[in-house]
Structures are given as C-alpha cells and as structure tokens.
C-alpha cells in the first residue's frame, strides 16, 4: 500500500498540479471537481467572523481567477454544498507563533471537504484549493486529491523596508494578499530608519512630522493593516530600529542623540552615524513611552528593535559616553550596545513584548527568550541556535540582491553551517524571512522584486526539507506566478506599461524580447554604476526587467535536450527564439533617437542580436556535424562580454548560446 501511494505521489511530483508551497502529503484520486456558476460553499459548524470573511474572499478570488460569476451566498444546506469548511475553532483568538496551521483537504468529484483545527489552518487550505482549480478540457475544475498539510517552520516572513522608499497602503494590502496566497505568515514592517519615521506617534508627534515629508502611516492605517493581515493569518512584526539607524528620531528630539544636532532626513542610503545615547536616562524614558504607545497598535508578542549596523562613531567621539563605557567596564561600543539592549529588554517586557533584533544584538548577557534574526551570515544563526537562542534566517533571502528564484530556493535555514547542529538545537531555528530592502525600489517596481521569487522562499519554509527539485519548482512557479496576479500582485501587469514608457512608439514585442533576456542585478552592482538616492528615477530598462525569465530558462533547457537528442520540433523552437533575438535590434534601433531610456541599452540590444546570430550559426554547424573549434574561439569575446554585468544587468541570453558554441567546439 505504501508503495502504491509512493508511485502515485512520484507521478504527481513530476507533473502534478502547480501547488506552491508543495503540501506535506498529497494523494491523487481519480476525477476532478467541476467549478461553475453553481459552486456553493457551506460551513459544517458555526463560523467565526474571520472565517466567514475568508470564505467571502475565497469566492471573490475564485471568480477573479476563473472569470466565473459565483454567487456569494452559502449553499441551502451542507449536503447541497460543493465545498464544505469544517473548522474546529469556532471562536477567534489572537495569532501566535504557536498557531496550528494544519489542514486536510479532500477534493472529490461531487463535494470537497476542508478540515482544520484552527481558522488559520482553514485559510491555508482555502489557498491550496484556489491553486488546484485550473482550466481543463471540460472547463474549470480541481483534480480530486487528498492533501494533509502543515508547515515545516512556524515563522515564514517577508520584510518590507518602507523607509528607503515609502510604500503606500495599497502596496502593503496587495502584498499581504499575495503572501496569503503562498502561505507566508509574518509581515515584518521596517518602519523607522535614517530615511524616515513612518508611523504616526501621538505621544511624540515630531517623530513622524519631522521624520518624514508627509509619507507616514496614520494610526488608523496601522490598525487597518494589522487587522487586514490578521484576517489573512499573518502576524505583523513592527521594527523600530535602535540605537542606530535612528537619525529621524533625533530631528525632533535631538536631546536623545549622542552628538549635537541638528539632524535631518537622509535621502541617500548607507550606514550613518546618528545613534541614541545609551548613557542618557531620558532615552529609556522616551523608549518606554514610545513602546507603550506602539504596543497599543501592534498586538504581536514580538517587537523588533533592529540593532544593526551601529558604527559607534558618535559614541567614540563623545567623551562622556567613553567615560561611561570605562566606568561600567563595558569594554567597547559593542558592549555599550548590549548595555542598551539590556536596558530596553525590561521596557519591552513591561509592555508585554519579547525582544527581537538583527544578529548584532546577540550577546551572552541577554536572556534566552530573545529572538535573533541572522542577516550578516548563516553562521550567526547556527551559533545562536547552538547557544540556545531562538533564531530566524534572513541571510540568503535578501530580495534586493535580485537573485534568481532557484538561488533563494537553495537556501535552507537548517542547512549550511546549521546542518551540523543537533536535532534539539535545530529546533531553535524557527524559520526565515525574505527581506525587501527598497533603496532602489519604488511602489511600481516592488512587485517584480518580491514576486514570484518569494513564493520559492515560502515553499522552502513551508514544505518538507526533501522538496528540493529545482526544475519542478520552476515548473510550478511559472504557473503560480500568474495566479499571484489574481491575488493582487502586479509583477505581471506592471511590465508592459513600464516597457511602453521607455519607448512608446517601439514595437512592444521587441521591447519585451530584449527585456526578457535581462537579469537585473542587486544592490552590489547597482551602487557601482550610480549613486542611488530617494530622487533617483526608477524608470529604466533595468527597473522594468524582471529577470529569471521563462523564455531563457526554456531555451536553455531546450538547448541541453537538443544537444543530447536532437529533434526537429526542438530545433524549430530554439531557432524561433534565436531568430527573434537576431532580428530584434533592427526593430528597436529606429526608436532609440526618440528615447534616452532606450538608447542607453542599445549596446545590450546589439549584443542580443549577435548572440542570436551566433546561436543560429552554431546550430547550422552542428546540423552539418562540423566541429569548428576556430569558429567557436572567435565567439569568445562576445560570450565573455555578455556574461559580465553591464548597465546593472546580466544578459541571461548568453548562457544558452554559450552551450551551443561549446557544442561546436567539441
């Protein structure tokens, strides 16, 4: 029996429904449940208001993704329903880290049953069903299946930095909707930094009035977002970065600073000097009142105090602070920061909060109930876990590095240096967070920087550790990415308008062909090219390009297959793409004089044409079974040049052509 199940399961593995994250257990049944205008849901037991709202959203989403006008009212009876929700939790309760998110989903031809111990578990199951529904030869349907599912890690977060670039409420809302779709459960809100203090404070109003130019969240908006997230089974973790990254606190309240002001909003990015003065008792009184106010807005048990990148310069230059360090025997500035953290700890406790911070806060003098978030490296997480601290991984999940989905997918919180921990120590690693820092990211571009790659992170954190097949991940991701549009994400829909803006009169398919072959690079390559500030225009081809494109991945896979086992169909498919590349530059060139934004990228457009031509030439040589090492060597400068980062992008197109050229040289 177990063997049969395994065989079925393996079949699904290679060509099963495009679920992401992949459920823990999945057993296909025969048949499928039709979804049409007659589709009705019912509750097996009294449904709490949060579950009722979730069911209403479920129907709305199902209508959005299928185009079928579903009635919102419930079925006449449980027996008459197509979809029954059987949730044991009938009275709502606050979200916690210990939330049971498990569910069981049995899709039958006539009637589907979703069973869960909690409302949050039901939410997860509803999203799985939405991913099951797909067009078929007989209209929309969900394949019959039994799914038993629960997450591997309890903390699956996404951080958004709203200080470098402010992200309006609709951006946060659609991000929460999309997070729900892939079962992410913590929204880490990086709210304050040298570039902005983005929360309205009624106790210290100069924080947001002087700490922003008007771009902050009102308390009503904060409450709205927290409730919105909670409805979707997502905890909101606020971060108030201290004692560094606190320049905007000091504009209105310079008396908290470690050096004389005046201070002002910083519109550039990096590590700056401003820091709170840990030797000043008024600082702790201030933090006490601020945390008291913010605890009323943010109900979660955790409170993130940042703690990263304190450069200590102001402390070094302040004689009285240096005297304090000596007098208390704190060794150095790091010691002073630990002293600061020790002082902040009881304040957080007093307001019912647990302390959380970046890995800089890790110090043996802090108690074991703090939570450490490793961003500098994976080792710090392993060490923290070894020493008995709870921790999360963010290192490797930095979305502003603009890596490929497969790169993020390969990072496992208990992999790498954490792999050698004992089973008990591994339990201290509670999950991870994808981090969307926004130095060069606007409300328009943020979607394509988060999605779909955060879905790959979500799968890493939800699905069993054994789910590691990258090709299968991409197979599902290429479908799921378009589902996320119906959840609200705009990485698909913002693409064409951004390309049209670059060259309104150029053929859109030619712009798309070029942009589809480019992988925009992350912050490390960006800052080399130009200094990014809040005033930098984020409207260039590098901002529109999404990277990791299915076209190039498909071509590379086709090329590998064709080199191994040539077929006419595969050859035609490869030639189609290469021919389009070869001819593309001639179509764009006439439009460059009218657009500085297009003209900038002409060198890459021209090289794409050369890559297309080289690829076609290589195929001709291969078809005539002629190895031509000399010709292959002549292609080296082109392949080398296009493999390098230029204009802040990598030409993904180079790799499949390189494979063809290498084929010729053999």
């Amino acid at each position: 029996m177990r063997f049969v199940w395994f065989v079925l399961f393996s079949a699904l593995l290679t060509a099963g429904p495009a679920l992401m994250p992949r459920p823990a257990k999945m057993e296909p049944l025969s048949g499928a449940q039709k979804v049409d205008a007659a589709f009705r849901i019912a509750f097996q037991r009294a449904a709490a208001p949060r579950l009722q709202r979730a069911a209403a959203r479920f129907l709305e989403r199902l209508t959005a993704q299928t185009g079928i006008p579903l009635k919102r009212g419930p079925a006449a009876s449980v027996g008459a329903a197509n979809f029954i929700i059987d949730c044991a939790q009938t009275v709502d309760a606050p979200l916690t880290l210990e939330e049971n998110e498990s569910y069981r989903l049995q899709v039958n031809v006539e009637q589907t049953r979703l069973t869960s111990p909690t409302i949050t578990g039901a939410l997860r199951g509803l999203q799985t069903y939405l991913q099951l529904v797909e067009v078929s030869g007989k209209g929309f349907a969900a394949p019959s299946v039994i799914i038993e599912d629960s997450p591997r890690f309890p903390w699956r977060g996404l951080l958004i930095d709203v200080t470098s670039h402010f992200m309006p409420v609709p951006v946060i809302e659609r991000t929460l909707d999309t997070m729900e779709a892939v079962k992410l459960n913590v929204f880490h809100w990086h709210l304050t930094d040298d570039q902005g203090f983005r929360v309205e404070s009624k106790v210290f109003p100069k924080l947001h009035t002087l700490g922003t130019e008007g771009d902050f969240y009102t308390q009503a908006e904060i409450r709205h977002i927290v409730a919105y997230a909670r409805d979707r089974g997502i905890r909101v973790l606020p971060e108030f970065d201290m004692p560094g990254h606190s320049g905007t606190w000091l504009i209105g309240y310079p008396e908290l600073a470690s050096a004389p002001g005046p201070y002002s909003i910083i519109h550039t990015f990096g590590v700056y000097d401003p820091a709170l003065d840990p030797t000043n008792e008024a600082v702790y009184a201030f933090i006490d009142r601020l945390v008291a106010e913010m605890a009323g807005l943010f109900p979660d048990a955790y409170f993130h105090i940042g703690g990263d990148e304190v450069n200590g310069r102001q402390w070094k230059q302040n004689a009285s602070i240096q005297a304090f360090i000596k007098q208390r025997g704190l060794k150095d500035e790091a010691g002073l920061q630990t002293y600061f953290n020790q002082r902040v700890l009881p304040i957080l406790k007093k307001h019912g909060k647990r302390m959380m911070g970046w890995d800089e806060i890790l110090h043996q003098d802090l108690p074991k109930d703090i939570m450490v978030e490793a961003w500098q490296n994976h080792e710090s997480l392993a060490q923290a876990a070894q020493r008995g601290y709870k921790g999360l991984l963010s290192f490797g999940y930095y979305l502003d590095h603009l890596k490929l989905a497969g790169d993020y997918y390969a990072v496992d919180p208990v992999g790498g240096p954490a792999a050698t921990l004992t089973a008990e120590q591994k339990k201290n690693i509670l999950g991870g967070e994808a981090c969307m820092w926004t130095e060069f990211i606007s409300p328009e571009t943020i979607d394509s920087r988060m999605w779909p790659k955060s879905a790959a992170v979500a799968e890493r954190l939800w699905s069993p550790a054994t789910v590691t097949d990258v090709a299968d991940m991409y197979r599902r991701l290429d479908v799921v990415t378009h589902r996320l549009t119906f959840a609200g994400a705009r990485h698909v829909t913002n693409y064409e308008p951004m390309l049209r803006r670059i060259a309104p009169f150029a053929p859109i398919d030619a712009l798309r062909t070029l942009a589809d072959t480019l992988d925009p690079t992350g912050i490390e390559h960006r800052e080399v090219f130009q200094r990014y500030t809040q005033e930098t225009e984020l409207n260039r081809l590098v901002d529109a390009a999404r990277g990791d494109s299915a076209v190039v991945r498909g071509l590379e896979s086709d090329v590998r297959e064709w080199l191994r086992a040539p077929t006419p169909e595969r050859e035609a498919a490869i030639r189609r793409v290469l021919t389009a590349w070869r001819d593309n530059h001639a179509r764009l060139l006439p439009h460059a004089p009218a657009s500085a934004l297009l003209a900038e990228f002409l060198p890459l457009s021209e090289d794409l044409a050369r890559l297309g031509a080289a690829g076609l030439a290589a195929m001709d040589l291969l078809a005539s079974r002629r190895a031509d090492a000399a010709w292959a060597r002549e292609q080296a400068p082109l392949l080398d040049r296009t493999a390098k980062v230029r204009l802040e992008v990598r030409m993904a197109a180079a790799q499949p052509v390189r494979l063809l050229v290498e084929g010729v040289s053999r």
Copy 2:
C-alpha cells in the same frame, strides 16, 4: 501671419504630440520643457481646495506615467516654479452644464503657465499637460507650445449600466479617473432596472434589499463617488428608469405595479413587462418621496427618468388602466406614458430637478426645458432640436456594440439628419454620451469595452468639428491608450491575465497573436450565439480580445503602401506578421486538449494560419510579378469564411490578406 500659423499647425496635425482630444488651437514653439525630480508647481493666486487636490493628483499622475519621484510640496516661490497655475476662480462652486471649461496653456522651456477662468478649466489644462509629457532623446519633456482650448459641446458623457452587471466602487473610481484624462464631463449612472435597484434607499429600503442580492451602493458610497467625480470636473447624472424597466421596484412594493405580483429580480436581459401604474396616485406619492431622498444624494440639476422600452403589455391587460386611458382621452399606452411623465415633471421641479429621459419621452405636451437623449436613432434628436427641445446623442455611441474607434469617431451629434438644422436649432444639441450597457460585460472586461474607444468619442465631443482625420486619430489613440493605464484604466493590464487564464501553459505570445487579430462583436451577434444572463461566464477568448488592434491596422496600412510602392523594409515588416500568423496555430494546437476555452477557438486559429500562408503566397506571386487570377479565386472560400462573424468575433486579419490576394488577381 495667419498663413504661417496654419503651416505650423498643419505640420503638427500630421505628427504632433499625441493629444486627445485635440485642442481647439495649438501653436508649436521651439524647444521643450524638461521634467525631472526638480519639477515644482506653484499657484499664482489662492487655490481652492478642489484645485489643490487636483494639483496633488497631477503630480501623482506625472510620477506614475514617467517613473520620476516628484516632490509633492509647492515651489519656494512662483518665480522658482516650473509650472504655474493661474486660476481666476478662487472660491469653488457647484458644477453646472454651463461650466466654463476653457484654459490656456503655454509651455516654455523654463516655465509653463496654465491660465483658466475656472477650476474646471484648470483641470482640463492639467490633463493636456500630462499628455504632452513624453520621453525624448534627453529624458522626459513637454514640447513648448501655446494651447488655447475649450470644448465644442458642453455635455460629454459616459453611461455605465450597473444593473445588468454590478460594477463595484473601484471600477467607477478608475472610470472617473480615465474620463478626466480625456475631458469627459458627465457620468451617467444607470442605477435601476429589472436586474437590480443599486442604490440604498433609507426611505424605501425594500428597493435595494429585495431589488439586489447585496450588490448596491450605500449612500456613503454614492456621496463618495459624487464628490470624487466633482473633484475631476465630472457631473453625476443618476438614472431611475420609470415607468418601465422597473421590475425591481415592484418586488418590495408590488402595490405600485400594473399587474399582480409577485415580482423578482430578473437575471436575463431584454424588454420585460413590469411597469409602474400611472393611474395609481400612490405611485406619484412614492416617486415624490424617492426623488426627495435621491435629490439629497445627487446634486446635479438633471434627473434622468429613463422612460425607454415600455412595452405596454401590463397596461393593455389591465381593464382599469384601459378605462383610465379612455376616460382621460389619452389615446393609447404612449399617451398614458406622457401623462405619467407630465405627473412626474412637477415632482422633479419641486425637488429642484430638470427632467431628462430617453427619446421615448419626447412629446409635444411636455415643456421645452426637458432634456432628450436620443438612443433609438439620430432622427429623433434632429426632430427634438427642431422643435426646440434640448437633446443629446447616444445613438451611434453604444459601446456594447463593440464597434471600432473609427466608427464611433465618425458619428457627429450635429451630423447626419441633424446637419440640415438651422444654426439656431443646432444649438439645442448639447453633446452626446457613450453608453456602456453591460449585459455581457463584467468588472474585468468593462475597461476594454470602454477604452480607448471612448477617447475617440471624447474627441468628437470636445474638438472642433473639422477634426476628422481618422488616421491621425488612430496615430494619437495608439499612444493615448497606454497613457490611460496610468490614469487607472485596465484595458491594457487585464489582457495578459485573461489570456493566460484561457491556456496557462500555452506560449503567451501565441495567444496574444491570435487574440490581436480578433474583433469581438457587439450584442446583436452575441445573443445569436448564446443566451447571455448574469450567470454567463465572461472568460472566453471573445471576452479577452480587445479588437481594433494596432497590429492589424498597421499591417493593413503597410500592405496598402507596399502594393502602391514596394520597399524591402515594408515587405519585411509584412512578412514578419504573416509568418507569425502562419506558424501560430501549430504553437497553440498542443495546448487545446487541456483547455476547453482554447479548443473552442481552434477553427479561427487554424484559419489565421491559413490567412498567413495565403498572404505570404500572394506576396511571393506579387514579387515575381505574376498575376494569377485562378489562384486568387481559390482563396475566396477562406476570405469569405473569415470575413464572417463566427464564435461572436470577426477576424480582422482577413482584410489585409484580402488586399494582397486582390493584388494578385489584377
């Protein structure tokens, strides 16, 4: 001087900026004004709050369309501003039909000045500037120009039927934003019908509670929309259709009916029997209280009572009503409807409203201050104007007929049968309204049915009567259509998601290639194919296809040019499109078994391949200078078949291929 100006103006005519509607007068200057992050605006005089909000939206839109992060604060001084708004109206006032919408816009290299007598005029000028800003060889800029502009007609409306399919508030909001972008100024809200009573009534709550299944606008939402429209210089005209199309009134209030109930919501479409009973005094008391309540929500001077399509069946079958007709000497049911209108008229007056209705209400017994909207034909408008009634044209502007932009563009309110009116009579024609009836249109598809074609209607109603060059209209429309995305319209961004839904695994460019060649047809061809109801799924290729595609228009124009004067560039461009068509079916075919939605359209996909092949063959024959009448005759069945409406679409691809085949036959 006048001659020089004319020469310059003519030059702009053929390749000027993509403004729509075209301004009344436009004089190009040399140079252009750069738009970058330093761009600041200032007010010459105290700005009313509505103008301040408009300026803030202007900056937001400019950021959206350029990707440049503009600061929202004003310039330090008027002298330091890049854009000065000089509006004579410093105190806001209600919008009226007599609103002065004129403005003068002088764009200079250093500083632009917008001058207007009214706030609404300033709004119109701001939108013109947004259309002037375009990417250039030196970044974003607006060409220097002097524009003096005012509308030809004071009433430039767009009707949305929210009864056949409910349109949620966000749909209305983005429609108003897009209307503002093309200077439409009346939102005609068709709120009640047999399919729904979509307004919350606190006086008669059974109207909306029994007259809908929950899909209605609350009074707070109505107030929000009216204020939202007003901010954009758009009047809101509510329509409460009576005495016919009133089935949903009678569900909760059957005592108003002309035949015994019970009544229920009708989920299909057409002309139905339910009608108010004009002989019942309680009907007028009811209308009095309802209008009193609604007058508090809708401040506009006009109140639309519908009055269309009363089939009179209930009146004919009711002996007491028949007796009433005889007794009062009303002749027939039409006479009874006029009696009804005469009774309603003083009720409207009492509540400060002018009566407006469809052309059925036109009758000599009604006073001259009513407004007639001609939907049945153009003649009724001409007759009304001749008899001294004020009127609007909707006939010819029915968006649910899904005609091409050029078709709507050709319709002039004072053209056709109105062309022979005297100048004085023509003044009675105040404009027109594009009508978006929604029998087979959902919140997802409505954008592509309204836009960009309503921009062509907007130009007809705003620009001088002499602006009639269709080719130039399309040249500008093809740019403006993408600008509307930044105003909020979704006709561009909903396209790919709707195509992906049809066949998630098919190559998206192949789906696009097919859909781009299809012109979906209007209601007359739809109802023949299938019976549409509120439960019909609007997710088929005919729903995704937008029609009037630039690809086919471009091909047709290239073919005409090439037949006249062949060049290698043009030949290559034509062959590129035809080759893509020829090869497209083979790319889609493998995906049809997995999608009923794709399989349905395979016959058209196959014919597109045949059209591509026929076109290429014709080009080969033409290139070899061989006339081949026999070959051309062989293509007739294909050309005839593809010229016909099938599966509710027309294959636009047929026409350019027909031109090539005709070339061969000569």
